[in-house]
Each structure stands twice: as structure tokens, then as C-alpha cells.
């Protein structure tokens, strides 16, 4: 019912037009008609130049124009979809006129509001400005719903937004604790041909739990360290087109393993335009203009601001973004050759805040604030020489960005009688107890500096009668963090056990140098065409210590994309072309600063805890062991892709189908490692009683027991095996005349499996006879899952130029989603005692009174597939073109839905409820 009301409301708002009429003679009245069909044209504008006033025709096409003085007047009659009519009329008495308008050539209908299949040889989608305007994105994440396999999501800017290509929706959820984020880390974002980087970010909060159900998830859900680009910070205005390559990109693009997003901004003259958008969570305003400085030079200026609140009634959680951009182009006099120079300066500020809900009678102490300020500058030169037949283009790009990110956390902490630990060396220390309650303040100061340079040239040469285009070049990227890292009072840490902050600026830079060469050729074979794009990229890390395995070698990424075009033929007098495509490629993503240089781990065990009632006599002694979790063997994350597909074009109809297989065997993953700690456990009853003491006792006054225990800790290893395969399809039927609509369909069947390619250790938190568990298990399996989903999105874009309306209806069907755990036998391969002796684990050990705790007996149905059946959502988006320069748009997602209840295998009935959400947008060009 609510949805119906919303729809009605919209229709009312959309159609309500106010006619300004005054009862003063003489009156010009009339009707505006279609010159050809003689039908009335509603909502046409009639403008009188001399009086500078206007009227709008009503639903019958009629209008009323009152005048003060008789005379000749110049009228302009306009309506979207029609040519403007200019006419001069002499008005001295009441008149009734018929004003015919000629229809324009279906100009509006050419608006393409879908993601088109990319023209480049790599599998991808291109989304042009019209589609972007129609989509009304708040952030870049909204654009991704247009991709095959994409689904619309409610805009949530209170947590980071990471890209997820070719991954089922559930796999990339933040609530999936096995999410390695290798897909988002391995997707490169490029703006105007230059990649963005988040590899220098070090915003981890030591000691905070990363488990999604912990109360600290407000920290981890906003921490993109080692996870890739936060799409919230990317403005969607000022974009001319976006190309998202899911397949195998050209070797020109590197330091990526999953995909590539190329954003091209406007470098052209544009009128001043303003966009206003509001939906229940956010308000966005953006404005821009493209100034033509002279015949060859254009300067574009753009700014936007977004204010997001996760709950409009509660300002405790909010996110703001401000972006500003200046970009300049200098084009050569000749169109084809000469020097193109582009330069840009961008600013991005994001301000993420969260306050804890205060209890009525308690002071508000818990706050989270993250201020991110980034300045990016770049210069790009493309030279197209005039006289050289072999050298087509020489490019040189140089860009840099400097970010200052400051995360401030305040939190009330219970000391829990824990020690203050500040020792920086291994050994025994006397210490103090944390106060039982205090407010901790932490600032994480990050100043990532990123530089990127690329040089490339395009050359033509002939070989065996074919013209080859050769691309050669190299690039260099530099990531360094000059921030102070975690800054806090070490005696009042956010988490007990912290106390050894490390300044980020002590870490070296991470640099990657790459070279690439690629050949592009089209070879006619009979009346067929074979196009080939084949190249290789070589990349190595610079400035890493010799101890690192990556220090001394290049990693090679061979990549090839081919297409075979059959000769055209005719079916029912329509030209049909068929093309087969395929590709193979390796992709390498180098580890980031956080992967290569983790903080040292300080493990402290309390040896003496003399907690006298007399505070002056209290004594604490702890022993510190330092573990370096640096993985010198860490390799880049490499992904191998295979693709095969076809494209059929028949008239305006186009079908594209691509099958893919991706295998990443050495993705980054945090796995558990072990070590031992030896310490003294003092029995305070063996020492002096408080009455005998005048000063705190010392360690030697007590008898102790020497103990040795396991320490397990996380380490980043190449331990994630991720396999993705599936079929993506897109069918574009073009305009289907009987229903006035452009009909298109896309979707994907995809399966992704996340496994463990390296072993891990687990220590049961089990107490056996009042002792910690004596063994540690070595496991080659984890909580690994496979996900599958199949979806189809059907879009109808219906355009009524007479009324200036574009209706986009999208039927999103998720046929099913599936999930299953990878089967395992529940047993460790072997186990280790605290003397580091290794014993094989046998089947009979699963029933041993002690060893059975190393065995995780699988449930009979543990590895069964869990299936969520059919779900359908219907989204509606309507754009009303008020005038050529003014557009109003409104959308409701899930205005209708079908989410039937279903029964799970275990008999549980699952009821699904979907809530519609909506928003509106206003665009003006001045």
C-alpha cells in the first residue's frame, strides 16, 4: 500500500504544473498542437521575450496569456522533443491561436541508460554520462549495479564501500569473516589514465578486534588498510564515462589482480550545471562548469558535497564528503597531431564520525572521527607526431597525491587490573596496573604519499603484410607513509597490552617498477578477421630489503585477448555479425605497506601480581617476548584468468556472452602461526605478607614455577586460494517499437570458492585438568566456503519525448543464491607439544580423552548446500525533463517485490521482508 501511495504521490508531483494567469485584457489564449499529428501538446513552454514572462500549456495543450498593453510581441514556444517555434504576434484584443510545433528527431530516445559492452578487447562494461545522469549515483558503488551480476543496494555510507567484481553478493559482505579483500585490493581505479592508490595506508588500530560481530566492528568496517579503494570517496559527478574491465586488461595496466575501473572525466566546454540529490540518508549538491579559455584550451571546474546520516533522526553516525577539481586541457591546433597537454588538481575530503549512543545519565565519552584530506595533482602529455609514419604517439604521465588522514578515537576503558606494558625489549619488567577506569584517546595519523609516472609509446610497423600496433612503455609507483602512526599516552592505551606504538614514517617506501610491451594486430583470414592483443608486463619491487623474497625478481604477466570475426551474413534482411572472443592472462598485485611491514607483536605475561590492599605495596612483574610477524617470503598476489565468449549483432540487437575462470592460488590471507613463551609464575603465598613489607616486594622474594606456553599470532601469507568462474551475459534488444522502450537484459551465473592454500595452527582454548591445553594442531583446512548465484536484470527504458518523461523499470531477479562449506575431515595433520615435538594425528585420536579436542567433528549436514530461492525486486526510476536545462528525477527501489518465504532443510521457515527505498534528484544547467 505504501508503495502505491508513493507512486501516486510521484505522479501527482510530476504532473502538477502551475499556470500563472491574471484577469487583465487583452488575453491571448490558444492551444499548442503537434504539427503533424495535430494532437495537443501538454506542458509546452510559451515565453514572451518582451514581457519576460511565460506560460505552460495544460494537459489539453491549451494556455492563457494575459497582456497589459497592446502591441507586437515575440514568442518562443518550446517543448522537449519538439523544435522551438519563434513567432511574432500582434495582440490588441482577445485572441485564440493554434501554435503548431514540429517534432524533433527522436533526440531523447538516443539517451543510453545502460552499461554497454566495452569496445576494447577486454571484457568489460562502459557506462556513459547519460546513463550516469539517469542512475543518480551518490557514490561510485551505485554505478556497479549496472554490471552483469550487479544488484541494487541501499546506499550506506556509514561504512567503507569496497568493489567486488565477479563475486557473489554474500561473499563480499563485511559480515563474512573469511573475506580476504583480495578482490577489492586487486582492483585498480584509474582517473584520467592514472591509477589511484591506497597501498600506503596504515590506519589499523592495534588491538581492535576485526571479527564482524565484535563491538569494534565500527572500526574495522571503516578501515581500508590493505583492502583497496574506498569508493565512498570517489565523486560521480564530472564523469564523462566509466569503463569497468572485469576480464583481462591490456598490459599497460598493472599492479592489479582482479579488475580495472577507468574513470574518464570531462575535459570540454560545459554549461554551468547543478545537481541536487536527496534520499532518506543523504543530501548531495554538485556544481561544475567547463570554461573555454580559448580555441585550444578548456578549464573544467567541479565541486560536490554530500552529507550522509545513517539515520536522519540521529546525527550520531554521519559521513561527509567534499570534492573539488580543476582540470585543464590544451589541445593542438590540428586535430590529429600535435601535443595534448592535460593537467589536474583535485581535492577530496571525507569526514566520517560516530558517537556512541549515550545512556541517559552518563557522559558521552566514546567517539570516532576520521578526517581524510587528499590533494592530487597530475600532468599528462600525449604527443602525436605529424611526420613519422611509424611513431603514432608518445605519452608521459606524472601524478602524485598527498593524503592526511587522522582517525581520532576516544573510549572509556576498564583497566581490569591489567598491567601497563611499555617495554620495547624482551625481558622481565616491573610495572604498574592500569587504573580501573579511564578514558583513552588515540589518534592514528597517516600521511600517505603516492607518486606515479608512466612513459609509453605507440608504434606502427608492418610485418608479413599486416599492420601491427606496438605499445611499449614502463611505469613506476611509489607509496610511502609519512604519518606518525598511532599516537597515544602509552600508560592509558585503548586496549590493555598496547603501549608500543610505531611511527609510520619510519617505514621505507614501497616502489614497483614495471615495463610492458604489447602488439595489436588484425589479420584477415579469408573473409574472417582475427584480432590479437598480446603482451607481457614485467614488474618488480624496488627498495625492499634483501631478506624479502620479492627483492630480486621480476614477475611476468603475459596477457592475450583475441577475437575472431566471421563474415557478415543476412537473416530476414538484417545484417548479422558473429564474433568469438577469448583471452588468457596473468595479473600481479604487489603487497602493500601494511602487508610488508606489520608491527612487531609484544607478548606479555604477568609473572607476579601482588595486589595488596595497601596500594603502596602493590607489585607487578611481567615478562615480554617480541614476535616479528613480517613474512619475508611474501609474494605478490597473482591471478590467472581464462575467458571465452561470443558476440552476435543483428541490426540493433546485440548479445554478448562470456565464460570466465579465475584462479588465484596465492592471495593474501592472515593465518595463525605459533611460538612459545617461557615465564615464571610466582605464588604470592610463598612470599612476605604485607605487614612485613615497607616497600613493594621483588620477584626474588617468591617461589615460582617455570612455565612454557604456546603463543599463536596472525601472519600475512600467500595462503588464500580463490577460484571464480561463471558466465556473464548481456542482451540488448534496442528499441522495441510497440512498447516504446529500449529493452535490455543482463546477468550472470557465478560461483566463487575461497580456500586455504597454506596450513594454519589452532590451539583449543580448552582447560584440561586445570592446565591450558597441551597441544597445538596443524590444519590444512579452514572455514572455507563456496558461493554461487544466478541473476537476471531486465530493464525497460521507456521514453516519452512529448511529455519529457523517461521511465526506467528494472526487474531484478535473483534466481538463487547458494553457499556451502568446503568439506574436510575435521582432523589436524599433526600436533605439536610445548617442546615442539611433532606427532601425527591418527583416526583413533579423535576419541582420545585429550586429543579429541583437536578434532572438529563435522556435522552430518555441515557441507550441504544452503540455498536461498527466487527473489524478485522491481525498481522504478522516472526522469521528468522540465526544460532543456532542467531535469527532475525520482526513484523507488523495490516498489514491488516478490520474496516468498521458504523452508530450509532443517524445517525452519524463513520469512523475507523487503522495504522500498527512494530518493529524488534535480539537475539544472545554467
Amino acid at each position: 500500500m505504501e508503495k502505491l501511495i508513493l507512486l501516486l504521490l510521484f505522479i501527482l508531483v510530476g504532473f502538477q504544473e502551475v499556470v500563472f494567469a491574471q484577469q487583465i485584457t487583452p488575453i491571448l489564449s490558444g492551444v499548442i498542437i503537434d504539427a503533424k499529428k495535430h494532437g495537443a501538446i501538454p506542458f509546452a513552454n510559451i515565453y514572451c521575450k518582451e514581457l519576460k514572462t511565460g506560460a505552460v500549456s495544460d494537459i489539453d495543450g491549451s494556455f492563457l496569456f494575459p497582456f497589459v498593453i497592446s502591441g507586437s510581441y515575440h514568442f518562443q514556444v518550446s517543448c522537449i522533443g519538439y523544435h522551438q517555434l519563434d513567432t511574432i504576434m500582434h495582440i490588441d484584443q482577445d485572441q485564440m491561436v493554434r501554435l503548431p510545433l514540429k517534432k524533433q528527431d527522436q533526440k531523447l530516445e538516443e539517451v543510453v541508460v545502460i552499461a554497454q559492452v566495452s569496445d576494447s578487447k577486454s571484457t568489460g562494461s562502459v557506462i556513459k554520462k547519460d546513463a550516469l545522469t539517469h542512475l543518480q549515483p551518490s557514490s561510485f558503488a551505485d554505478i556497479l549495479e549496472l554490471l552483469p551480476g550487479g544488484v541494487s543496494k541501499e546506499n550506506n555510507m556509514s561504512v567503507m564501500s569496497l568493489i567486488s567484481l565477479r563475486q557473489p553478493v554474500e561473499a563480499s559482505s563485511f559480515y563474512n569473516d573469511e573475506n580476504t579483500h583480495n578482490s577489492s585490493l586487486g582492483t585498480s581505479f584509474m582517473v584520467d589514465g592514472v591509477p589511484l592508490s591506497n597501498d600506503g595506508q596504515l590506519q589499523n588500530v592495534t588491538g581492535s578486534y576485526t571479527h564482524s560481530s565484535s563491538s569494534d566492528n565500527y572500526i574495522s568496517f571503516r578501515n581500508t588498510t590493505g583492502k583497496g579503494i574506498d569508493m565512498r570517496a570517489i565523486s560521480t559527478d564530472d564523469i564523462e564515462s566509466v569503463e569497468i574491465i572485469r576480464g583481462i586488461p591490456s598490459v599497460k595496466y598493472g599492479d592489479l589482480s582482479s579488475g580495472l575501473v577507468m574513470i574518464h572525466r570531462s575535459y570540454k566546454e560545459l554549461p554551468f550545471h547543478v545537481r541536487l540529490k536527496a534520499d532518506p540518508g543523504s543530501k548531495l549538491i554538485s556544481a561544475g562548469k567547463g570554461f573555454r579559455l580559448n580555441k585550444r584550451q578548456v578549464l573544467n571546474v567541479n565541486a560536490d558535497y554530500i552529507d550522509y546520516q545513517s539515520d536522519p533522526r540521529n546525527s550520531k553516525v554521519n559521513y561527509n564528503r567534499i570534492t573539488g577539481s580543476l582540470h585543464f586541457v590544451n589541445k593542438p591546433i590540428a586535430k590529429e597531431h600535435g601535443l595534448f597537454f592535460k593537467a589536474n588538481v583535485d581535492y577530496t575530503g571525507t569526514f566520517d564520525g560516530r558517537k556512541k549512543d549515550s545512556q541517559i545519565d552518563l557522559p558521552e565519552t566514546d567517539r570516532y572521527k576520521d578526517n581524510f584530506n587528499k590533494v592530487r595533482m597530475g600532468a599528462m602529455v600525449d604527443w602525436y607526431p605529424e611526420d613519422l609514419s611509424w611513431l603514432k604517439k608518445v605519452s608521459g604521465y606524472l601524478t602524485g597525491s598527498y593524503t592526511h588522514e587522522e582517525k581520532t578515537i576516544s573510549k572509556a576503558v576498564s583497566g581490569s587490573n591489567s598491567p601497563i606494558t611499555t617495554s620495547r625489549k624482551e625481558g622481565e619488567y616491573y610495572g604498574e596496573f592500569l587504573p580501573s577506569s579511564y578514558v583513552a584517546h588515540l589518534v592514528v595519523d597517516g600521511k600517505p604519499l603516492y607518486l606515479f609516472a608512466r612513459f609509453s609509446s605507440d608504434m606502427d610497423f608492418s610485418f608479413l603484410g599486416n599492420t601491427h600496433q606496438l605499445l611499449v612503455g614502463g611505469d613506476w609507483r611509489y607509496n610511502k607513509n609519512n604519518g606518525l602512526g598511532e599516537v597515544y599516552d602509552v600508560t592509558r592505551p585503548l586496549y590493555a597490552g598496547n603501549g608500543r606504538p610505531r611511527a609510520s614514517n619510519e617505514l621505507p617506501s614501497v616502489q614497483v617498477l614495471s615495463f610492458f610491451a604489447e602488439d595489436n594486430v588484425t589479420i584477415p583470414i579469408g573473409s574472417n578477421d582475427l584480432s590479437l592483443q598480446a603482451g607481457v608486463r614485467a614488474a618488480r619491487a624496488l627498495n625492499v630489503g634483501d631478506a624479502y623474497r620479492i627483492s630480486d625478481r621480476f614477475f611476468f604477466d603475459p596477457r592475450i585477448n583475441w577475437s575472431w570475426r566471421f563474415p557478415r551474413f543476412n537473416v530476414f534482411s538484417k545484417a548479422v555479425s558473429v564474433q568469438l572472443n577469448g583471452g588468457f592472462g596473468w595479473h600481479t598485485k604487489f603487497p602493500t605497506l601494511s602487508h610488508l611491514y606489520p608491527n612487531l607483536l609484544y607478548c606479555d605475561v604477568v609473572q607476579l601480581n601482588y595486589f595488596s590492599q595497601n596500594k603502596a605495596l602493590r607489585q607487578l612483574n611481567y615478562c615480554t617476548k617480541i614476535i616479528d610477524p613480517t613474512n619475508y617470503q611474501l609474494k605478490p598476489n597473482r591471478n590467472r584468468k581464462w575467458e571465452i565468449g561470443f558476440a552476435v549483432k543483428a541490426g540493433r540487437i546485440r548479445l554478448d556472452v562470456t565464460g570466465y575462470h579465475e584462479l588465484m592460488e596465492s592471495g593474501f590471507k592472515r593465518l595463525s602461526q605459533y611460538d612459545f613463551i617461557t615465564y615464571k609464575r610466582c605464588d604470592i603465598s610463598t612470599g612476605p605478607s604485607p605487614e612485613e613489607l615497607t616497600a613493594p616486594p621483588t620477584l626474588d622474594m617468591f617461589e615460582y614455577e617455570q612455565r612454557k606456553e604456546f603463543l599463536t599470532h596472525g601472519k600475512v601469507v600467500n595462503g588464500s586460494e580463490e577460484e571464480k568462474y561463471g558466465i556473464e551475459y548481456q542482451l540488448d534488444l534496442g528499441k522495441v517499437a510497440p512498447i516504446y522502450s529500449r529493452v535490455s537484459m543482463n546477468g550472470a551465473w557465478m560461483r566463487a570458492r575461497y580456500g586455504m592454500s597454506m596450513p594454519t595452527y589452532r590451539h583449543p582454548s580448552k582447560i584440561i585438568n586445570d592446565e591450558t591445553y597441551p597441544y597445538l594442531g596443524y590444519y590444512t583446512w579452514g572455514n572455507n566456503k563456496a558461493y554461487e548465484q544466478f541473476n537476471t536484470n531486465v530493464r525497460f527504458d521507456t521514453q516519452f519525448p512529448e511529455m519529457g518523461l523517461i521511465f526506467s523499470s528494472m526487474l531484478q531477479t535473483m534466481w538463487f543464491t547458494k553457499r556451502s562449506y568446503t568439506s574436510h575431515n575435521g582432523m589436524p595433520e599433526y600436533y605439536i607439544d610445548n617442546e615442539n615435538n611433532v606427532y601425527p594425528y591418527r583416526l583413533e585420536d579423535t576419541t582420545d580423552p585429550v586429543l579429541r579436542f583437536l578434532y572438529k567433528k563435522p556435522d552430518p549436514d555441515e557441507f550441504d548446500e544452503w540455498v536461498v530461492p527466487l527473489a524478485i525486486d522491481f525498481n522504478l526510476k522516472v526522469t521528468k525533463v522540465i526544460s532543456k536545462d532542467m531535469k527532475l528525477a525520482f526513484y523507488v527501489n523495490s516498489i514491488l517485490d516478490y520474496h516468498p518465504s521458504y523452508s530450509r532443510k532443517d524445517g525452519t521457515r524463513v520469512n523475507r521482508k523487503v522495504y522500498p527505498y527512494f530518493g529524488m534528484e534535480f539537475n539544472v544547467n545554467i
Binding site: L362, S414, G415, S436, Q613, K766, I767, N769, D906
Partner: protein, 411 residues
């Protein structure tokens, strides 16, 4: 439109259906087959007085039936979900070894929870158990909820405590007295829980014993001992907490960062399933028993009283059989038991009804819980001024829920 139509149809049909139902309320006869404990059958039991209370779980309406015999009473009640409670007194006669006749008044009770009464007639069996009012040590106060600091943070430095009171008229010795936390959680009903031994023994997860060789720790009639986590004056760190520096014992566990107060004697740790130090359940979802097992050493307890159980954990589409190891304490060894829970959290009983018929609570797992305890009511004061605490093994009746804590003070 379709959806709306369906919704309307459903609404109308519900209206129609419920109207019809209102017209004819169904009643059923419930026949309760009472079974006396075996130990009583030889004692020639004669019913003195007894009543059966049937409480409708949904409406709270109580139907009380005075029983004149222990033959299966029949009660006619409106259909619904019921809790049944039988309380009675029997006069028993036995002869001792010398042939002398001994007359005894024995109290019995019986309970049945969540009985669905429907279908006109229903037979249910109910086993009665002997119910003793204790006249020894009783748990007089449990402070499980923690306090909050002035900053609004939960104070985590060990101010939880138990107070144990000598409710008899004689000097009793605390030596060897054990306090244990139940392994079962009254706010988490377990699916397919097995083996269920609650009628003979209580599953426990943490057990601490007061040291002593038998006569080291006398407790005078009307006096109490306090055992706590960290025996310091917590008020100096947190004005909302208490001075526990005069506590008699503290429980200390060398694991984690647990601190040891040298001025106060530590309890002997017998068993714990926890990998860190024992913090008692702050929402009160676990229950506590006081018991003695004089001749059982710590080692023997760990070995001979081990208890392995399992249940099916279900969370959305995640299901897994969970296995746990704990220990069990025979119900016959238990001196006093207090079932704790929270008003909206209560799902099932961790203790057998013969130990505690009901449960008490502090707050409702919410802000109200902090800084509050559960305290046993004073039944009467004897002529010599000794307070006798109420102990009918019915915590909802015996205890003041959400009470103001008063360690060392019986009020």
C-alpha cells in the same frame, strides 16, 4: 494490488475466524497422576494437606484445587498452556531399629511446566519429590551484576561476591564448603540436550572450595562469610562499588591477568572450564549451588565427576552439534541452590525444581541490572535476636530481586 488484496482477504478471514472462536471456549479435564517418591511408600504416608495450582501461562489465571487424596485429581480448565504445581504435607510413620515409632511430617512438591491443555481430556503424570527447608548454610546474597564507573564504563576489577549465611542456631564450619556456577544457562535453552541429568546431579562449570581442615573457619549462628573475586576496597577506585577488603575469601585463578590480594585467603580452585579467570555471569544467567563433598579431592573431582554433554546449536541457517565438558555435582550433596535468570531472558531451568522451584533475578539484562544484587529475605527474628532467613527452595519467593547490595550486612 494483488498483495493488498491478499492481505485484506487474510485479515477478513482472521476476523471471521476469531469471532467464531470467541463464541465457544473449550474446556478440558486434566487428570494428574501423582507419584510419591519411592522412599516414602514404606513410611505409610497419610495426606495432611495438599493443593494443586494450575497457572495459565498466557493469562496468568490460577486455578487452585485443594486435594483431599493423592488419587489422581481432575481439574477442569480452559484450554491453554499451563504450569502445574503441587505442594503438600504428608504424615509419615516409620520405626527405628529399636522398634520405636517415629512420626514425621514430610513436605512434598511436584512441578510440570508448559503443559498444553487441549482436546477435552488429558492425563498427565507428576512425580512428587521430598522438599526440605534447610537449616544450615544458605546463600544469602549474590552480586553477579557488575557496577558501573562514574564514566559509565562497566567496572571490571573484580567486585562480584557471594555472601553465605549460617541460618541455623549452631556454629557451623565453612571448611570444605564449595560454591559452583552451573554449566547450563537459564537464558539459553538447548536443543537436543543430552544426557540430561538434572534430576540427579547438577552440571557445573566452575567450582571453588573454602580451604580448611574441618574446624578452621567457624561461622556463628546469624553470621555470614563473604567470598569475592578481588578483596580490596573497590570504593577507592569506583565510588559505585563496595569495600570488600574485609572479605573472608577470594577466588583466585592464576590465568590471565588475575590479581592476588595477599591479605585475604584464596579459595581452592577445584575446576573451571574457563581459559581465563572466573568472572561470574553478569546478567545472572547462570545459577549457583553450595555443596560439600568432604572426601573428594580436587583431582578426583576432575576425574570422577566429569560430565560430557552436547546440544544442537541453531542460528539462522547455521547448525552445529556443540559438545562440552563440565562436571556434575550430585543433587544429594547440595546444601543450597539459587536459580538466577532475567525476566525476559529466562528460557529453562538449569537446576532441578527439587533444588529450587523458581528463579530470582536482578534487572532484566539491561541497565537496571548494574549495581544490583539478589538478596534472601529475612523470615523472622528469634527471641535472642538472630535473623532467620527465608528458605523454602523457591527463589522467586525467598529472594528480593534487583536488591541494593549490602555485603557483610544481613537485612
Amino acid at each position: 494490488m494483488n498483495k493488498v488484496g491478499i492481505a485484506m482477504l487474510v485479515m477478513f478471514s482472521i476476523l471471521f475466524f476469531s469471532c467464531e472462536k470467541d463464541d465457544e471456549i473449550s474446556f478440558s479435564d486434566v487428570s494428574v497422576g501423582l507419584k510419591l517418591p519411592k522412599s516414602l511408600t514404606k513410611k505409610k504416608p497419610v495426606l495432611n494437606s495438599a493443593k494443586l495450582v494450575m497457572t495459565n501461562v498466557n493469562t496468568g489465571v490460577e486455578t487452585i484445587e485443594q486435594l483431599t487424596t493423592l488419587q489422581s485429581p481432575v481439574v477442569n480448565v480452559e484450554d491453554g498452556l499451563y504450569n502445574l504445581l503441587v505442594t503438600g504435607e504428608l504424615n509419615c510413620t516409620t520405626t527405628d531399629t529399636k522398634g520405636k515409632t517415629i512420626n514425621q511430617t514430610i513436605k512434598v512438591r511436584g512441578v510440570k511446566e508448559n503443559l498444553e491443555v487441549v482436546g477435552g481430556e488429558l492425563d498427565v503424570d507428576m512425580s512428587l519429590f521430598i522438599f526440605k527447608e534447610s537449616t544450615g548454610f544458605v546463600i544469602s546474597e549474590i552480586f553477579f551484576a557488575r557496577t558501573k564507573t562514574p564514566e559509565g564504563q562497566i567496572y571490571n576489577s573484580g567486585d562480584q561476591y557471594f555472601e553465605i549465611y549460617n541460618n541455623s542456631s549452631e556454629v557451623l564450619y565453612a571448611d570444605g564448603l564449595c560454591i559452583a556456577q552451573t554449566a547450563l544457562n537459564s537464558a539459553q535453552k538447548m536443543d537436543k540436550f543430552k544426557p540430561d541429568i538434572r534430576n540427579v546431579a547438577t552440571p557445573v562449570s566452575d567450582v571453588y572450595r573454602i580451604p580448611g581442615s574441618g574446624k578452621d573457619y567457624p561461622v556463628q549462628p546469624g553470621e555470614s562469610i563473604v567470598i569475592c573475586d578481588v578483596a580490596i576496597n573497590h570504593k577507592t577506585d569506583n565510588p559505585n562499588s563496595f569495600d570488600l577488603s574485609k572479605a573472608d575469601f577470594e577466588w583466585y585463578d592464576e590465568k590471565g591477568n588475575e590479581v592476588d590480594v595477599p591479605e585475604v585467603t584464596n579459595m581452592v580452585k577445584i575446576a573451571s572450564t574457563s581459559a581465563s579467570s572466573w568472572r561470574i555471569n553478569m546478567w545472572g544467567w547462570q545459577s549457583y549451588i553450595l555443596f560439600k563433598m568432604e572426601d573428594v579431592t580436587s583431582k578426583a573431582f576432575l576425574k570422577d565427576y566429569a560430565y560430557h554433554y552436547e546440544y544442537l546449536f541453531v542460528h539462522e541457517d547455521f547448525r552445529i552439534t556443540m559438545e562440552f565438558d563440565a562436571w556434575k555435582v550430585p543433587n544429594s550433596n547440595i546444601i543450597d541452590a539459587v536459580e538466577c535468570s532475567s525476566r525476559s531472558g529466562f528460557k529453562w531451568k538449569a537446576l532441578d525444581p527439587s533444588l529450587d522451584l523458581t528463579w530470582t533475578h536482578s534487572g532484566d539484562g539491561n541497565e537496571e541490572t548494574y549495581g544490583k544484587s539478589v538478596k534472601r529475605k529475612v523470615s523472622h527474628v528469634t527471641a535472642d535476636g538472630r535473623k532467620v532467613l527465608l528458605d523454602t527452595n523457591d527463589s522467586a519467593f525467598d529472594f528480593i530481586p534487583t536488591a541494593v547490595p549490602s555485603p557483610f550486612v544481613i537485612e
